[in-house]
Amino acid sequence: MSTHVAEQAVPVRTVEVRSPSPAREAGQVIRAVLHIVFWSAALLGASWKHAQRDAAAGKAGATPADEVAFRDLASDDQRIYRNALEGLVEAEDARSRDKAWPTVEALAARRIPPFAPDPLDRGAYAWKRLEAGGLVNYVGTPGASGHPTFLVVALEPQPGEPADPQAVVDETHHRLADGTMIHVSIWIGGASPGAPIAQPAYEDGWRRVTMGTR
Protein backbone atom coordinates (compact mmCIF):
# COMPACT_ATOMS: atom_id res chain seq x y z
CA MET A 1 0.00 0.00 0.00
CA SER A 2 2.72 2.41 0.97
CA THR A 3 4.57 1.53 -2.24
CA HIS A 4 1.55 2.56 -4.23
CA VAL A 5 1.52 5.94 -2.46
CA ALA A 6 5.23 6.49 -3.16
CA GLU A 7 4.76 5.78 -6.83
CA GLN A 8 2.01 8.30 -6.98
CA ALA A 9 4.17 10.96 -5.24
CA VAL A 10 6.95 10.94 -7.92
CA PRO A 11 5.55 12.02 -11.26
CA VAL A 12 6.99 10.29 -14.27
CA ARG A 13 8.81 12.69 -16.58
CA THR A 14 9.03 11.84 -20.22
CA VAL A 15 11.96 13.24 -22.25
CA GLU A 16 12.26 12.78 -25.97
CA VAL A 17 15.84 12.21 -27.07
CA ARG A 18 16.25 13.08 -30.71
CA SER A 19 19.19 11.92 -32.78
CA PRO A 20 21.04 14.68 -34.65
CA SER A 21 20.01 15.28 -38.18
CA PRO A 22 21.94 13.23 -40.74
CA ALA A 23 23.63 16.41 -41.94
CA ARG A 24 24.73 17.41 -38.43
CA GLU A 25 25.95 13.90 -37.65
CA ALA A 26 27.93 13.74 -40.88
CA GLY A 27 29.43 17.11 -40.02
CA GLN A 28 30.61 15.81 -36.66
CA VAL A 29 32.27 12.81 -38.32
CA ILE A 30 33.95 15.01 -40.91
CA ARG A 31 35.20 17.34 -38.16
CA ALA A 32 36.68 14.40 -36.27
CA VAL A 33 38.35 13.05 -39.41
CA LEU A 34 39.74 16.50 -40.24
CA HIS A 35 41.21 16.76 -36.74
CA ILE A 36 42.95 13.42 -37.10
CA VAL A 37 44.27 14.21 -40.57
CA PHE A 38 45.39 17.72 -39.53
CA TRP A 39 47.34 16.60 -36.51
CA SER A 40 48.85 13.67 -38.41
CA ALA A 41 49.96 16.05 -41.15
CA ALA A 42 51.44 18.35 -38.53
CA LEU A 43 53.37 15.44 -37.03
CA LEU A 44 54.58 14.26 -40.44
CA GLY A 45 55.58 17.78 -41.40
CA ALA A 46 57.60 18.20 -38.23
CA SER A 47 59.31 14.84 -38.77
CA TRP A 48 60.11 15.71 -42.38
CA LYS A 49 61.53 19.09 -41.40
CA HIS A 50 63.67 17.46 -38.73
CA ALA A 51 64.96 14.90 -41.23
CA GLN A 52 65.79 17.66 -43.71
CA ARG A 53 67.72 19.54 -41.05
CA ASP A 54 69.65 16.39 -40.11
CA ALA A 55 70.43 15.68 -43.75
CA ALA A 56 71.66 19.24 -44.24
CA ALA A 57 73.91 18.80 -41.21
CA GLY A 58 75.20 15.53 -42.63
CA LYS A 59 73.74 13.51 -39.76
CA ALA A 60 71.84 10.98 -41.80
CA GLY A 61 71.94 9.56 -45.28
CA ALA A 62 74.71 11.67 -46.78
CA THR A 63 78.30 10.60 -46.23
CA PRO A 64 80.66 13.39 -45.15
CA ALA A 65 83.43 14.24 -47.61
CA ASP A 66 86.18 12.69 -45.51
CA GLU A 67 84.34 9.37 -45.22
CA VAL A 68 83.35 6.66 -47.65
CA ALA A 69 80.65 4.09 -46.96
CA PHE A 70 81.55 0.41 -47.15
CA ARG A 71 78.67 -0.15 -49.58
CA ASP A 72 80.22 2.33 -52.03
CA LEU A 73 83.59 0.57 -52.24
CA ALA A 74 84.58 -1.68 -55.12
CA SER A 75 84.14 -5.37 -54.34
CA ASP A 76 87.91 -5.96 -54.09
CA ASP A 77 88.19 -3.09 -51.61
CA GLN A 78 85.20 -4.37 -49.61
CA ARG A 79 87.00 -7.68 -49.36
CA ILE A 80 90.19 -6.04 -48.03
CA TYR A 81 88.15 -3.96 -45.59
CA ARG A 82 86.37 -7.05 -44.24
CA ASN A 83 89.73 -8.79 -43.86
CA ALA A 84 91.21 -5.72 -42.16
CA LEU A 85 88.36 -5.75 -39.63
CA GLU A 86 89.13 -9.38 -38.87
CA GLY A 87 92.83 -8.60 -38.58
CA LEU A 88 92.15 -5.67 -36.26
CA VAL A 89 90.08 -7.82 -33.89
CA GLU A 90 92.83 -10.45 -33.79
CA ALA A 91 95.51 -7.79 -33.23
CA GLU A 92 93.46 -6.38 -30.34
CA ASP A 93 93.20 -9.87 -28.87
CA ALA A 94 96.97 -10.30 -29.07
CA ARG A 95 97.49 -6.82 -27.57
CA SER A 96 95.22 -7.80 -24.66
CA ARG A 97 97.14 -11.00 -23.99
CA ASP A 98 100.73 -9.95 -24.69
CA LYS A 99 100.55 -6.23 -23.71
CA ALA A 100 102.03 -5.36 -27.11
CA TRP A 101 100.65 -4.91 -30.60
CA PRO A 102 101.58 -7.92 -32.75
CA THR A 103 103.87 -7.62 -35.73
CA VAL A 104 102.60 -8.24 -39.23
CA GLU A 105 104.79 -11.34 -39.36
CA ALA A 106 103.26 -12.77 -36.18
CA LEU A 107 99.74 -12.23 -37.50
CA ALA A 108 100.63 -13.68 -40.89
CA ALA A 109 102.12 -16.77 -39.24
CA ARG A 110 98.70 -17.41 -37.71
CA ARG A 111 97.10 -17.09 -41.18
CA ILE A 112 95.24 -13.96 -40.11
CA PRO A 113 94.05 -11.74 -42.96
CA PRO A 114 94.86 -9.37 -44.50
CA PHE A 115 98.45 -9.97 -43.30
CA ALA A 116 98.81 -13.62 -44.32
CA PRO A 117 99.66 -14.51 -47.95
CA ASP A 118 96.41 -14.42 -49.90
CA PRO A 119 96.29 -16.18 -53.28
CA LEU A 120 93.10 -14.29 -54.17
CA ASP A 121 94.48 -10.82 -53.42
CA ARG A 122 94.27 -8.95 -56.73
CA GLY A 123 95.92 -5.87 -55.24
CA ALA A 124 99.08 -7.79 -54.16
CA TYR A 125 99.14 -5.91 -50.87
CA ALA A 126 102.22 -5.71 -48.66
CA TRP A 127 101.55 -4.87 -45.01
CA LYS A 128 103.71 -3.16 -42.44
CA ARG A 129 103.26 -2.01 -38.87
CA LEU A 130 104.14 1.51 -37.67
CA GLU A 131 104.08 2.24 -33.95
CA ALA A 132 104.78 5.14 -31.62
CA GLY A 133 103.69 5.00 -28.00
CA GLY A 134 100.03 4.08 -27.85
CA LEU A 135 99.50 4.66 -31.55
CA VAL A 136 99.76 1.79 -34.01
CA ASN A 137 99.15 1.70 -37.76
CA TYR A 138 98.89 -1.31 -40.02
CA VAL A 139 99.48 -0.10 -43.57
CA GLY A 140 98.58 -2.10 -46.66
CA THR A 141 100.33 -0.89 -49.81
CA PRO A 142 99.17 -2.35 -53.12
CA GLY A 143 101.69 -3.90 -55.45
CA ALA A 144 99.24 -3.79 -58.35
CA SER A 145 98.05 -0.57 -59.95
CA GLY A 146 94.46 0.56 -59.56
CA HIS A 147 94.16 -0.44 -55.91
CA PRO A 148 94.12 1.97 -52.94
CA THR A 149 96.35 1.99 -49.88
CA PHE A 150 94.66 0.82 -46.67
CA LEU A 151 95.47 2.16 -43.21
CA VAL A 152 94.29 0.61 -39.95
CA VAL A 153 94.63 2.97 -36.97
CA ALA A 154 94.45 1.99 -33.29
CA LEU A 155 95.01 4.64 -30.64
CA GLU A 156 95.29 3.83 -26.96
CA PRO A 157 94.54 6.41 -24.24
CA GLN A 158 97.47 8.37 -22.83
CA PRO A 159 98.98 6.85 -19.67
CA GLY A 160 97.01 8.08 -16.69
CA GLU A 161 94.11 9.27 -18.84
CA PRO A 162 90.91 8.46 -16.90
CA ALA A 163 88.63 5.91 -18.52
CA ASP A 164 85.18 7.07 -19.54
CA PRO A 165 82.74 4.73 -17.78
CA GLN A 166 80.00 5.77 -20.21
CA ALA A 167 82.02 4.92 -23.32
CA VAL A 168 80.20 2.51 -25.62
CA VAL A 169 81.78 -0.07 -27.91
CA ASP A 170 80.99 0.84 -31.49
CA GLU A 171 82.56 1.15 -34.93
CA THR A 172 85.33 3.49 -33.72
CA HIS A 173 85.62 2.46 -30.07
CA HIS A 174 86.78 -1.02 -29.12
CA ARG A 175 87.42 -2.38 -25.66
CA LEU A 176 90.47 -4.53 -24.99
CA ALA A 177 90.14 -7.53 -22.70
CA ASP A 178 91.66 -5.56 -19.81
CA GLY A 179 88.92 -2.94 -20.15
CA THR A 180 91.02 -0.31 -21.95
CA MET A 181 88.92 1.57 -24.48
CA ILE A 182 90.78 2.37 -27.71
CA HIS A 183 89.95 4.43 -30.79
CA VAL A 184 90.04 2.47 -34.04
CA SER A 185 89.45 3.36 -37.67
CA ILE A 186 90.18 2.07 -41.16
CA TRP A 187 91.18 4.47 -43.92
CA ILE A 188 91.60 4.21 -47.66
CA GLY A 189 93.15 6.17 -50.49
CA GLY A 190 96.19 8.11 -49.26
CA ALA A 191 99.89 7.51 -49.81
CA SER A 192 101.66 4.98 -47.61
CA PRO A 193 102.94 6.89 -44.55
CA GLY A 194 106.51 6.63 -43.23
CA ALA A 195 105.52 7.35 -39.63
CA PRO A 196 102.37 6.45 -37.70
CA ILE A 197 99.44 8.84 -37.99
CA ALA A 198 96.43 9.09 -35.71
CA GLN A 199 94.20 11.25 -37.89
CA PRO A 200 94.87 10.82 -41.62
CA ALA A 201 94.19 14.02 -43.52
CA TYR A 202 91.50 14.46 -46.13
CA GLU A 203 93.90 16.72 -48.05
CA ASP A 204 96.28 13.75 -48.33
CA GLY A 205 93.61 11.65 -49.99
CA TRP A 206 92.48 9.65 -46.98
CA ARG A 207 88.83 8.67 -46.46
CA ARG A 208 87.61 6.83 -43.39
CA VAL A 209 85.57 3.76 -44.32
CA THR A 210 82.28 3.59 -42.44
CA MET A 211 79.98 0.60 -42.22
CA GLY A 212 77.06 3.00 -42.62
CA THR A 213 74.38 0.58 -43.83
CA ARG A 214 72.10 0.51 -40.79
Binding site: P22, V33, I36, R79, R82, D93, P113, P119, M211
Partner: protein
Protein backbone atom coordinates in the same frame (compact mmCIF):
# COMPACT_ATOMS: atom_id res chain seq x y z
CA UNK B 1 23.74 7.75 -39.72
CA UNK B 2 24.09 4.64 -37.59
CA UNK B 3 26.54 4.68 -34.65
CA UNK B 4 28.28 1.62 -36.12
CA UNK B 5 29.00 3.51 -39.33
CA UNK B 6 30.43 6.43 -37.37
CA UNK B 7 32.59 4.08 -35.36
CA UNK B 8 33.90 2.35 -38.49
CA UNK B 9 34.59 5.68 -40.23
CA UNK B 10 36.53 6.99 -37.24
CA UNK B 11 38.42 3.72 -36.99
CA UNK B 12 39.46 3.86 -40.65
CA UNK B 13 40.50 7.51 -40.36
CA UNK B 14 42.52 6.81 -37.24
CA UNK B 15 44.15 3.80 -38.90
CA UNK B 16 45.13 5.86 -41.93
CA UNK B 17 46.46 8.60 -39.71
CA UNK B 18 48.54 6.22 -37.65
CA UNK B 19 49.89 4.53 -40.78
CA UNK B 20 50.82 7.93 -42.22
CA UNK B 21 52.46 8.98 -39.01
CA UNK B 22 54.48 5.77 -38.96
CA UNK B 23 55.70 6.21 -42.55
CA UNK B 24 59.29 7.26 -42.92
CA UNK B 25 60.16 6.81 -39.30
CA UNK B 26 63.14 4.61 -38.62
CA UNK B 27 62.74 1.63 -36.34
CA UNK B 28 63.49 2.73 -32.81
CA UNK B 29 66.68 1.28 -31.37
CA UNK B 30 66.22 -1.77 -29.22
CA UNK B 31 66.32 -0.93 -25.53
CA UNK B 32 69.53 -1.79 -23.74
CA UNK B 33 69.26 -5.25 -22.23
CA UNK B 34 69.32 -5.73 -18.53
CA UNK B 35 72.55 -7.45 -17.51
CA UNK B 36 72.20 -11.05 -16.45
CA UNK B 37 73.31 -11.83 -12.95
CA UNK B 38 76.82 -13.15 -12.61
CA UNK B 39 75.74 -16.42 -11.04
CA UNK B 40 73.97 -19.59 -11.97
CA UNK B 41 73.86 -21.32 -15.32
CA UNK B 42 73.67 -19.27 -18.47
CA UNK B 43 71.07 -20.60 -20.88
CA UNK B 44 71.75 -19.33 -24.38
CA UNK B 45 69.22 -19.56 -27.19
CA UNK B 46 69.86 -19.06 -30.90
CA UNK B 47 67.60 -18.36 -33.85
CA UNK B 48 69.68 -19.81 -36.70
CA UNK B 49 71.71 -22.99 -37.19
CA UNK B 50 75.10 -21.29 -37.67
CA UNK B 51 74.68 -19.39 -34.40
CA UNK B 52 74.13 -22.70 -32.63
CA UNK B 53 77.36 -24.11 -34.04
CA UNK B 54 79.39 -20.97 -33.27
CA UNK B 55 78.03 -20.65 -29.73
CA UNK B 56 78.46 -24.35 -29.01
CA UNK B 57 82.12 -24.09 -30.00
CA UNK B 58 82.63 -20.94 -27.94
CA UNK B 59 81.18 -22.44 -24.74
CA UNK B 60 82.67 -25.93 -25.17
CA UNK B 61 84.03 -27.05 -21.81
CA UNK B 62 82.89 -23.88 -20.03
CA UNK B 63 80.96 -24.82 -16.88
CA UNK B 64 77.48 -23.43 -16.37
CA UNK B 65 76.71 -22.59 -19.99
CA UNK B 66 74.38 -24.36 -22.38
CA UNK B 67 73.05 -23.53 -25.82
CA UNK B 68 69.67 -24.44 -27.26
CA UNK B 69 67.79 -23.77 -30.46
CA UNK B 70 64.56 -21.75 -30.40
CA UNK B 71 63.28 -22.93 -33.79
CA UNK B 72 62.75 -26.59 -34.70
CA UNK B 73 65.57 -28.01 -36.78
CA UNK B 74 63.53 -28.91 -39.82
CA UNK B 75 62.13 -25.39 -40.34
CA UNK B 76 63.95 -22.72 -42.34
CA UNK B 77 63.75 -19.32 -40.61
CA UNK B 78 62.39 -17.88 -43.85
CA UNK B 79 59.18 -19.89 -43.60
CA UNK B 80 58.93 -20.14 -39.81
CA UNK B 81 55.70 -19.52 -37.92
CA UNK B 82 56.15 -18.97 -34.16
CA UNK B 83 54.59 -21.58 -31.91
CA UNK B 84 53.60 -21.42 -28.21
CA UNK B 85 56.15 -24.11 -27.43
CA UNK B 86 58.99 -22.09 -28.95
CA UNK B 87 57.89 -18.95 -27.10
CA UNK B 88 57.94 -20.97 -23.88
CA UNK B 89 61.58 -21.87 -24.62
CA UNK B 90 62.49 -18.17 -24.76
CA UNK B 91 60.95 -17.61 -21.33
CA UNK B 92 63.66 -19.85 -19.84
CA UNK B 93 66.65 -18.21 -21.58
CA UNK B 94 69.22 -15.76 -20.23
CA UNK B 95 70.81 -14.86 -23.58
CA UNK B 96 69.54 -14.92 -27.14
CA UNK B 97 71.82 -14.83 -30.18
CA UNK B 98 70.06 -13.26 -33.16
CA UNK B 99 70.69 -12.08 -36.71
CA UNK B 100 68.80 -8.84 -36.09
CA UNK B 101 68.91 -7.45 -39.63
CA UNK B 102 66.01 -9.21 -41.30
CA UNK B 103 66.56 -12.94 -41.06
CA UNK B 104 64.75 -13.47 -37.77
CA UNK B 105 62.39 -10.51 -37.49
CA UNK B 106 59.80 -12.78 -35.87
CA UNK B 107 61.91 -12.99 -32.70
CA UNK B 108 61.04 -9.57 -31.26
CA UNK B 109 57.35 -10.41 -30.89
CA UNK B 110 58.23 -13.85 -29.55
CA UNK B 111 60.43 -12.32 -26.84
CA UNK B 112 57.64 -9.90 -25.90
CA UNK B 113 55.14 -12.74 -25.73
CA UNK B 114 57.49 -14.79 -23.57
CA UNK B 115 57.46 -12.10 -20.88
CA UNK B 116 61.22 -12.57 -20.42
CA UNK B 117 62.39 -9.07 -19.45
CA UNK B 118 65.87 -10.06 -18.25
CA UNK B 119 66.92 -11.59 -21.59
CA UNK B 120 70.26 -10.32 -22.98
CA UNK B 121 70.32 -10.18 -26.77
CA UNK B 122 73.51 -10.62 -28.79
CA UNK B 123 72.92 -9.18 -32.26
CA UNK B 124 75.81 -10.77 -34.13
CA UNK B 125 75.72 -8.29 -37.00
CA UNK B 126 76.34 -5.22 -34.87
CA UNK B 127 79.97 -5.03 -36.04
CA UNK B 128 79.62 -6.56 -39.48
CA UNK B 129 79.80 -4.48 -42.68
CA UNK B 130 76.76 -5.32 -44.76
CA UNK B 131 76.69 -5.90 -48.49
CA UNK B 132 73.70 -4.81 -50.53
CA UNK B 133 71.02 -7.31 -51.44
CA UNK B 134 70.98 -8.96 -54.84
CA UNK B 135 68.66 -6.33 -56.29
CA UNK B 136 70.07 -3.25 -54.60
CA UNK B 137 68.35 -3.61 -51.24
CA UNK B 138 70.10 -1.75 -48.43
CA UNK B 139 71.39 -4.84 -46.69
CA UNK B 140 71.89 -8.52 -47.27
CA UNK B 141 70.98 -10.39 -44.09
CA UNK B 142 72.73 -13.65 -45.10
CA UNK B 143 75.91 -12.70 -43.29
CA UNK B 144 76.10 -16.21 -41.80
CA UNK B 145 76.97 -17.89 -45.13
CA UNK B 146 80.53 -16.69 -44.84
CA UNK B 147 83.80 -17.78 -43.24
CA UNK B 148 84.98 -14.23 -42.56
CA UNK B 149 81.75 -13.15 -40.89
CA UNK B 150 81.58 -16.40 -38.93
CA UNK B 151 85.02 -15.72 -37.47
CA UNK B 152 84.19 -12.14 -36.48
CA UNK B 153 80.74 -12.99 -35.13
CA UNK B 154 82.08 -15.94 -33.14
CA UNK B 155 84.58 -13.53 -31.60
CA UNK B 156 81.70 -11.17 -30.77
CA UNK B 157 79.67 -13.93 -29.11
CA UNK B 158 82.69 -14.91 -26.99
CA UNK B 159 83.29 -11.30 -25.98
CA UNK B 160 79.68 -10.67 -24.98
CA UNK B 161 79.39 -13.94 -23.05
CA UNK B 162 82.67 -13.08 -21.34
CA UNK B 163 81.15 -9.79 -20.18
CA UNK B 164 78.32 -11.75 -18.60
CA UNK B 165 80.63 -14.33 -17.02
CA UNK B 166 84.03 -12.61 -16.58
CA UNK B 167 85.45 -15.60 -14.73
CA UNK B 168 85.20 -17.58 -18.00
CA UNK B 169 86.21 -14.80 -20.41
CA UNK B 170 89.69 -16.22 -21.10
CA UNK B 171 88.35 -19.70 -21.86
CA UNK B 172 85.61 -18.30 -24.10
CA UNK B 173 88.14 -16.21 -25.98
CA UNK B 174 90.51 -19.17 -26.40
CA UNK B 175 87.68 -21.34 -27.70
CA UNK B 176 86.66 -18.65 -30.20
CA UNK B 177 90.28 -18.34 -31.34
CA UNK B 178 90.60 -22.10 -31.88
CA UNK B 179 87.34 -22.19 -33.84
CA UNK B 180 88.43 -19.19 -35.90
CA UNK B 181 91.69 -20.99 -36.73
CA UNK B 182 89.76 -23.99 -38.05
CA UNK B 183 87.51 -21.79 -40.18
CA UNK B 184 90.55 -19.93 -41.54
CA UNK B 185 92.00 -23.31 -42.46
CA UNK B 186 88.91 -24.15 -44.51
CA UNK B 187 88.90 -20.73 -46.15
CA UNK B 188 92.62 -20.91 -46.86
CA UNK B 189 92.36 -24.32 -48.51
CA UNK B 190 89.47 -23.17 -50.70
CA UNK B 191 91.31 -19.96 -51.59
CA UNK B 192 94.40 -21.86 -52.72
CA UNK B 193 92.30 -24.02 -55.03
CA UNK B 194 90.09 -21.20 -56.30
CA UNK B 195 93.15 -19.14 -57.22
CA UNK B 196 93.33 -21.52 -60.20
CA UNK B 197 89.70 -20.95 -61.17
CA UNK B 198 88.98 -20.86 -64.88
CA UNK B 199 85.53 -19.45 -64.26
CA UNK B 200 85.36 -16.36 -62.05
CA UNK B 201 81.82 -15.10 -62.54
CA UNK B 202 78.60 -16.86 -61.56
CA UNK B 203 74.87 -16.26 -61.38
CA UNK B 204 73.00 -17.30 -58.27
CA UNK B 205 69.37 -18.21 -57.75
CA UNK B 206 69.38 -16.75 -54.26
CA UNK B 207 71.02 -13.57 -52.95
CA UNK B 208 72.49 -15.27 -49.90
CA UNK B 209 75.93 -16.11 -51.25
CA UNK B 210 77.33 -12.62 -51.80
CA UNK B 211 79.57 -12.62 -48.71
CA UNK B 212 81.01 -16.07 -49.42
CA UNK B 213 81.62 -15.33 -53.09
CA UNK B 214 83.35 -12.05 -52.29
CA UNK B 215 85.78 -13.61 -49.82
CA UNK B 216 86.58 -16.34 -52.36
CA UNK B 217 87.27 -13.81 -55.11
CA UNK B 218 84.25 -14.81 -57.23
CA UNK B 219 82.21 -12.18 -59.03
CA UNK B 220 78.43 -12.28 -58.66
CA UNK B 221 76.97 -11.62 -62.12
CA UNK B 222 73.30 -11.58 -61.10
CA UNK B 223 70.60 -13.02 -58.87
CA UNK B 224 67.65 -14.90 -60.35
CA UNK B 225 65.14 -14.50 -57.51
CA UNK B 226 63.56 -11.02 -57.64
CA UNK B 227 63.61 -10.94 -53.86
CA UNK B 228 64.42 -13.39 -51.11
CA UNK B 229 62.04 -16.36 -51.44
CA UNK B 230 60.13 -15.06 -54.47
CA UNK B 231 59.76 -17.08 -57.65
CA UNK B 232 61.03 -15.22 -60.72
CA UNK B 233 58.59 -14.41 -63.49
CA UNK B 234 59.09 -15.56 -67.10
CA UNK B 235 60.24 -12.03 -67.94
CA UNK B 236 62.81 -12.04 -65.15
CA UNK B 237 64.10 -15.45 -66.22
CA UNK B 238 64.37 -14.13 -69.77
CA UNK B 239 66.38 -11.13 -68.58
CA UNK B 240 68.70 -13.43 -66.65
CA UNK B 241 69.25 -15.58 -69.75
CA UNK B 242 70.13 -12.45 -71.74
CA UNK B 243 72.57 -11.37 -69.05
CA UNK B 244 74.22 -14.79 -68.91
CA UNK B 245 74.64 -14.88 -72.69
CA UNK B 246 75.97 -11.34 -72.79
CA UNK B 247 78.51 -11.89 -70.01
CA UNK B 248 79.27 -15.53 -70.93
CA UNK B 249 78.29 -16.83 -67.49
CA UNK B 250 78.31 -20.61 -67.47
CA UNK B 251 77.75 -21.45 -63.81
CA UNK B 252 74.54 -21.10 -61.79
CA UNK B 253 74.54 -21.61 -58.04
CA UNK B 254 71.19 -22.66 -56.64
CA UNK B 255 69.68 -23.61 -53.29
CA UNK B 256 68.38 -27.06 -52.38
CA UNK B 257 64.67 -26.30 -52.77
CA UNK B 258 64.59 -24.10 -55.86
CA UNK B 259 62.23 -25.67 -58.45
CA UNK B 260 64.15 -27.46 -61.16
CA UNK B 261 61.53 -26.52 -63.76
CA UNK B 262 62.59 -22.89 -63.32
CA UNK B 263 66.24 -23.77 -63.79
CA UNK B 264 65.54 -25.75 -66.96
CA UNK B 265 65.18 -22.65 -69.18
CA UNK B 266 68.48 -21.27 -67.88
CA UNK B 267 70.21 -24.57 -68.58
CA UNK B 268 68.70 -25.00 -72.02
CA UNK B 269 69.22 -21.43 -73.20
CA UNK B 270 72.76 -20.98 -71.92
CA UNK B 271 74.16 -24.52 -71.44
CA UNK B 272 75.04 -23.43 -67.91
CA UNK B 273 76.04 -25.94 -65.27
CA UNK B 274 74.03 -25.81 -62.04
CA UNK B 275 75.44 -26.46 -58.55
CA UNK B 276 73.76 -26.46 -55.14
CA UNK B 277 75.14 -24.28 -52.34
CA UNK B 278 73.71 -24.94 -48.86
CA UNK B 279 72.37 -22.34 -46.47
CA UNK B 280 73.19 -24.08 -43.20
CA UNK B 281 69.51 -23.45 -42.53
CA UNK B 282 67.79 -26.75 -41.73
CA UNK B 283 68.45 -30.10 -40.08
CA UNK B 284 69.80 -31.15 -36.71
CA UNK B 285 71.51 -28.49 -34.61
CA UNK B 286 75.09 -29.66 -34.04
CA UNK B 287 78.38 -27.96 -33.17
CA UNK B 288 79.93 -29.35 -36.37
CA UNK B 289 77.17 -28.36 -38.78
CA UNK B 290 78.63 -25.04 -39.93
CA UNK B 291 82.10 -26.45 -40.64
CA UNK B 292 80.73 -29.55 -42.38
CA UNK B 293 78.29 -27.69 -44.64
CA UNK B 294 80.64 -24.82 -45.42
CA UNK B 295 83.39 -27.28 -46.34
CA UNK B 296 80.91 -28.92 -48.72
CA UNK B 297 80.04 -25.49 -50.15
CA UNK B 298 83.72 -24.70 -50.67
CA UNK B 299 84.30 -28.08 -52.35
CA UNK B 300 81.29 -27.46 -54.61
CA UNK B 301 82.71 -24.11 -55.68
CA UNK B 302 86.08 -25.68 -56.45
CA UNK B 303 84.31 -28.33 -58.54
CA UNK B 304 82.20 -25.74 -60.36
CA UNK B 305 84.96 -23.24 -61.08
CA UNK B 306 88.18 -25.25 -61.16
CA UNK B 307 87.68 -28.97 -61.73
CA UNK B 308 84.67 -29.26 -64.02
CA UNK B 309 85.72 -26.58 -66.55
CA UNK B 310 88.95 -28.50 -67.22
Amino acid sequence: MKPLVIFIALGIALGIALALAACGKADPPAPAPAPATDAGPLRIGVTLHPYYAWTANVIAGVPGMEVTNVLPGEVDAGSYQPSPGDIAKIAKLDVLVVNGIGHDDFIGDMVKSSGNTRLVTIAVNEGTPLLAGGHGEAKNSHTFISFTNAIQQTRLIARRLGELRPQHADKLRANAAAYADRLRGLLGTASQQLAKAKVKKVVTVHDGYAYLLQELGITLGGVVQPSHGLIPSAKELGEMIDLMKKEAVTVVLTEEDFPDKLLAPLREATAARVYVIGHVATGAYTPQKFEVEMRTNADTLVKALVTDPE
